[in-house]
């Protein structure tokens, strides 16, 4: 064996050693990374469970029959519960025609690409606009009646609806309509194109196709989308402070006056914190519990109901 070939063998051996080392190191890194990712997943699960059990364990001692039925703000949350659902229904009544209509437009009708781009940009801007800002806009436009601006002979005033349920519902609708639009657009788009083509081929108009074929097929997704939007509506606080106002008095607990102020659960939890009284800590814990249970039930319900309806409508099992 010549000297040069021995040297070659040595370099090959050395290289093999380096490569083996590198592989071993890569395997160690792989293990560390795998462990870290499992750890992160564990942490997020634990944090979530901790939050839920913390709120439940803190709030449970204050839950009683009176807590749900008393309209007296020093004892119970009947007025706030009523307002929460009343405002939810009002805002959905405003939101669904606009949100669903616009979703039908974007998924079924839109041909003008330029307008579609503008619409999408508007929707995304509104989605990421701070809820505080929608609250201020609501205050300016719905609540107050001061002059906003004037262009030439035209002067724009606020609507002067005062701090009221209708102002709150309008603000909630503005805040959440982009969410409703996006989620229901997804639901409509998930309907297979072959259904539309079959309907159109059978001589149905676009409108008939949309209303008798696409929307019925999209019902499970649309229900999910409305429920998820409802979860967001129920948890909203910042926008309502400047529009729906405070005041969950006994008198207002069960009247439907649109002009009355409507303090919701989320706002109540905040005002119990910012203006504490003797037993506000317990009331706050109880209110937080009711709020988070409502939100979780709606969100979990949305998913379960969505997949259940999907199986029923599509005639298959998951």
């Amino acid at each position: 064996m010549s000297a040069s070939s021995i040297a070659t063998i040595k370099t090959i051996e050395a290289r093999a050693k380096i490569a083996a080392n590198r592989r071993a190191r890569a395997r160690i890194y792989d293990r560390i990374a795998t462990g870290t990712l499992w750890g992160l997943a564990g942490i997020i699960t634990i944090v979530f469970l901790y939050i839920v059990t913390y709120i439940i364990s803190k709030g449970l001692p204050f839950i009683s029959r009176d807590f749900f039925t008393s309209g007296n703000p020093a004892v119970g949350i009947a007025a706030q519960l009523f307002n929460t659902f009343y405002l939810l229904i009002l805002s959905l009544l405003i939101m669904i025609p606009v949100g669903l209509g616009a979703a039908i437009y974007t998924s079924e009708y839109a041909r003008n690409q330029r307008f579609l781009r503008v619409l999408r940009f508007a929707v995304e801007t509104l989605t990421s606009a701070p809820s505080l800002l929608i609250g201020l806009f609501g205050f300016l436009f719905f609540v107050a009646n001061i002059k906003i601006f004037s262009v030439g002979p035209i002067t724009v005033h606020g609507m002067g609806l005062q701090f009221s349920r209708i102002s709150g519902a309008l603000a909630l609708a503005v805040l959440n309509v982009p969410w409703l639009l996006r989620t229901s657009e997804d639901a409509l788009r998930a309907v297979p194109g072959s259904l539309r083509e079959a309907s159109l081929a059978a001589g149905a108009t676009k409108w008939q196709t949309t209303f008798r074929v696409v929307i019925p097929a999209a019902i499970p997704g649309l229900v999910t989308s409305i429920l998820i939007t409802s979860g967001r509506v129920i948890g909203e606080t910042a926008a309502l402070i400047f529009t729906a106002g405070a005041g969950g008095s006994v008198k207002d607990a069960f009247n439907f006056g649109l002009d009355r102020p409507g303090e919701t659960l989320a706002y109540h939890a905040y005002s119990l914190y910012s203006e504490p009284s003797t037993n506000s800590e317990g009331l706050r814990a109880g209110t937080s519990l009711v709020l988070i249970v409502l939100v979780l039930v709606i969100n979990i319900g949305a998913r379960v109901l969505g997949s259940f309806l999907n199986n029923r409508f599509a005639g298959r099992r998951a």
């Binding site: 592989r23 890569a26 890194y29 990374a33 795998t34 870290t36 992160l40 997943a41 942490i43 997020i44 699960t45 979530f48 939050i51 913390y54 709120i55 803190k58 606009v98 949100g99 209509g101 616009a102 039908i104 437009y105 974007t106 009708y109 619409l119 508007a122 995304e124 801007t125 990421s128 606009a129 701070p130 809820s131 505080l132 800002l133 201020l136 806009f137 300016l140 906003i148 601006f149 503005v174 309509v177 982009p178 108009t205 676009k206 409108w207 008939q208 998820i228 948890g235 910042a238 400047f242 989320a266 706002y267 939890a269 905040y270 914190y273 709020l291 988070i292 979780l296 969100n299 998913r303």
Partner: protein, 315 residues
């Protein structure tokens, strides 16, 4: 009989055509209403915002950089505070969210991935007031106890401040970044994974050198939308940040309380001061200016996120 049914059919067809047109116009109007709402918000808030400069004659330089006029506080405290909060919040949230996204898509068995995704999505539903109250009840005492036991000074910090706020907002944007990242990673074709593994790369090398670069623009979209959410978050931040007129970093370095000192951000200032300014005047106008700034920033971030998404290869 046929002669009777023919005109009937024709009217049925005409009426369905009328309905078709009405429906078309109807949904177009609903789409336009959404655009109109956004335009109205910009015009209304904008009309109030510029009064600071046109009616009150405060120069933009004074507005943004002088420390002396808004409650002797200046908007510099607020803009610096908002930017710092975004940076700190993202520093905590991004590694967490992206890690969980890779765990869900690459490591977890499908059933566990589904459960974890549901948990992350349920996080998105937790109202911000709950996050704020939890911050007051859990995070602030935790930070207070840890820092004070490290420094050995019982009164070194009260626990509230930008670090507590960053911690809270990190958990609030985690679902946004995670779900968008999961979608971006799941959109990468299988061939890329298989190619990398076939070349002998470990799973971690595949994630780091193949999947992360391939899904980066998607992940960036999530991060930018997360930033928009942090800068606009109101109640949860207002409850924990302290609301003091100290510029983050500069004033805190002097007192030796970097990261734990109290400060304020734009949303907190608007939230606290707006109700006290019913009479109007320069301070109310300046709050509108800040609001318009917030609105413009979120529109800008949306614009950037759209540009980034348009550049992504796998969708």
């Amino acid at each position: 009989m046929a002669s009777v049914s023919l005109p009937k059919q024709r009217t049925a067809r005409t009426s369905s055509k009328v309905w078709d047109l009405a429906g078309n116009i109807g949904v177009l109007i609903m789409g336009s209403i959404v655009v109109l709402i956004v335009a109205t918000i910009f015009i209304f808030v904008g009309s109030q915002a510029f009064q600071t400069f046109t009616v009150d004659h405060i120069s933009p330089g004074t507005f943004f950089f002088s420390k002396d006029w808004l409650y002797s506080q200046g908007t510099l405290v607020l803009t610096v505070g908002s930017i710092s909060l975004v940076v700190l919040g993202l520093l905590i949230a991004v590694p967490f969210s992206v890690g969980i996204a890779f765990f869900i898509t690459e490591l977890a068995p499908p059933w566990l991935g589904r459960i974890l995704r549901s948990i992350v999505e349920l996080f998105l539903g937790i109202p911000s007031i709950i996050f704020g109250l939890l911050g007051v009840a859990i995070v602030i005492p935790l930070i207070k106890n840890i820092i004070n036991s490290i420094t050995g000074d019982k009164y070194f910090t009260t626990g509230d401040g930008i670090f507590a706020a960053a911690f809270i907002v990190a958990f609030m944007v985690l679902p946004t970044i995670t779900t968008i990242s999961v979608d971006a990673i799941a959109a990468i074709p299988r061939e890329l994974r298989e190619g990398s593994l076939a070349l002998g790369a470990t799973r971690w090398q595949t994630i780091l050198k193949t999947l992360l670069p391939a899904s980066l623009s998607g992940i960036m979209t999530g991060v930018i939308l997360g930033a928009a959410r942090i800068i606009g978050e109101t109640i949860a931040v207002a409850l924990v940040i302290g609301g003091s007129p100290q510029i983050f970093g500069v004033d805190h370095l002097k007192s030796g309380q970097l990261f734990i000192g109290t400060t304020s951000v734009m949303t907190t200032q608007i939230f606290h001061d707006f109700p006290n300014q019913a009479k109007g005047g320069p301070i109310l106008d300046s709050l509108w200016t800040l609001s318009f700034l917030l609105l413009s920033i979120s529109a800008l971030l949306v614009f950037i996120s759209r540009a980034v998404t348009a550049r992504s290869v796998y969708k």
